[in-house]
Amino acid sequence: MTGQLRSTLQTHADDLDTWDVDLDSIVRAGDRRMRRRRSVLTGGLAGVLVVAGGIAAFAGHGNRTGPPPADQNAKPLTYAVGSVIHTGDRTIDVGKKVVSLVPTHWGFVFSTPDRRLYREHDGQVRPITTFNGRPSHLSDVSSRLVVSDDGLVTAWWDGQRIQTWPGYRGDMVDAFDKTNSFNAESSWPTHEPPRIQAVSDGHLWFWGGQHSWIAEVRPMTTTAGWKDSNPPGSGTVVDAAGDKVLVHVADGMAVTKANLLPWPIGKQDGWKPGGDLAGVTAQVKHVDSGDLAPDGRHWFTDDHDQFAVFDSATGKRQNLTAPGFAYVAPYQWRDNDTIAAVAWADLSRDPSISLLTCHVSTNACALTAPDVGTYTEVAIPRGAAFGD
């Protein structure tokens, strides 16, 4: 005999009209989602560089195996579970659930489920505020935090403006938007907000809907706007590291020199890129996302769900191996040779995340922090939440 609950569920399910599922629209939505995910997974963290000497040498969690990091000043393996940030052998309870975080020169900037932004320094947590004292926030929970290569500037989109937080100026942010002195072409339509790609070498790179743009953000936010010069495939700047940029051109990716040049704006000195992307051709085809190492000599991607590292000069590919894991997604350069990656052994049966340390010099990955939690619990320093 069946109880009323089960028979009610069964009856209503059986009465439901047949659904003619629209496979094409699912595939289109999936393709859009993949593009968005890649733009989140890559781009902003290439610049996360070895900050000044005071950072503790790496001391991992779990049963670390494999070769040690090539650079003993590598950024410590960092992740957050709930309100606790684990970084190297330290833990910091920030008292609020961490949704996304980035390491800064002083500590961390992180977001919470209500999209508010905070900064942590020596265990002290303070809200980041706008110039009029209002709490700063992300545009939505899936918006990215992007940090500069030296950890001095953090940037995000709040739904109206690109905000930058130069930490050396206290808790207040700078903002710039289309009403600043970018020319009219730099305006972004409201349905297609700008996407911050990288902050590197004092410059912020973003996609403005039609072109890549650059703005100087250190020591002061200026309006040194520049758009690329219509190279094939629109020449989207995907990442920047020092004077190198990783660009998407035509049907692939290439690394080229940013060519930042002095450029007088009014009576102030600004900068402009060389605008020479027109001659750049793809070094690596059929890839459209990537993350440059701090020295710009290599870049990684997980396009097509394949973890690969490419030589910036030649485009030569290396496949890094992680035995025992069905899916590996790189997310951070910890130094010029060391990549942090998240890995799942079997997503459907065991959703818990493990963290790996991979070395370009050996093509190998080692388990560094096993089973740190599921994607709903864990945040990694890539500036965006897991999931969407």
Binding site: R6, L9, A13, V21, L23, I26, V27, A29, D305, L347
Partner: protein, 185 residues
């Protein structure tokens, strides 16, 4: 996605979309919303497809996407367009075959008034026939949470429907009790 993968994904969609739609409908109570939900979950599954491969993995992944998305949609949209009532009409307590239909309607209405997590837990446990562990996986929560959600849901249904409606059969009740011991029949 490779061409072979696309073809396997298409096969999966055509084979399982109907069943997934039915489960989603039971969770949200609206056929169109359920379609949107499954469409969204299938798009997520499409993205994950190269690392799922096995259709059983894909179904578990998609079910989880449906469940967690349903719960978060309801939370985000704060859908409170259906208000809980203390008691449902007395006709649910009539005897005979018609009474059975009426009882099911009453149970259905009462189900719609449960919080989304409780409703999802009941659908996964008593329609999809998942174990508590599988239900926890699909809901992205601990097994203990599933126990408490199911228990609370059954208690609410019992309160709304009155004591004469047999929500679970003796065997279902015993099975549920074996797993968690606190189910209210």
């Amino acid at each position: 996605m490779a061409r072979g993968d696309r073809s396997e994904f298409a096969e999966f969609v055509h084979a399982r979309a109907g069943a997934l739609h039915r489960a989603a409908y039971l969770m949200v109570g609206d056929p169109q919303l359920a379609q949107d939900l499954v469409q969204e979950a299938l798009a997520k599954t499409y993205v994950a497809w190269p690392r799922l491969r096995d259709p059983r993995n894909a179904e578990a992944y998609c079910r989880k996407a449906i469940t967690t998305t349903a719960i978060s949609w309801f939370r985000r949209k704060s859908w409170h367009n259906e208000r809980p009532t203390e008691h449902l009409p007395d006709e649910s307590r009539a005897a005979g075959p018609e009474a059975s239909v009426t009882e099911r309607d009453a149970v259905w209405r009462a189900l719609q008034q449960l919080p989304p997590r409780q409703r999802a837990a009941l659908v996964l446990r008593f329609y999809e026939d998942l174990t508590e562990a599988q239900t926890a996986e699909a809901m992205g929560c601990a097994v203990g949470t599933v126990k408490s959600q199911v228990s609370a849901a059954l208690a609410k249904l019992r309160t709304q429907l009155g004591g004469d409606v047999e929500l679970l059969s003796t065997k279902e009740w015993a099975d549920a009790r074996t797993e968690e011991g606190t189910v209210t029949r």
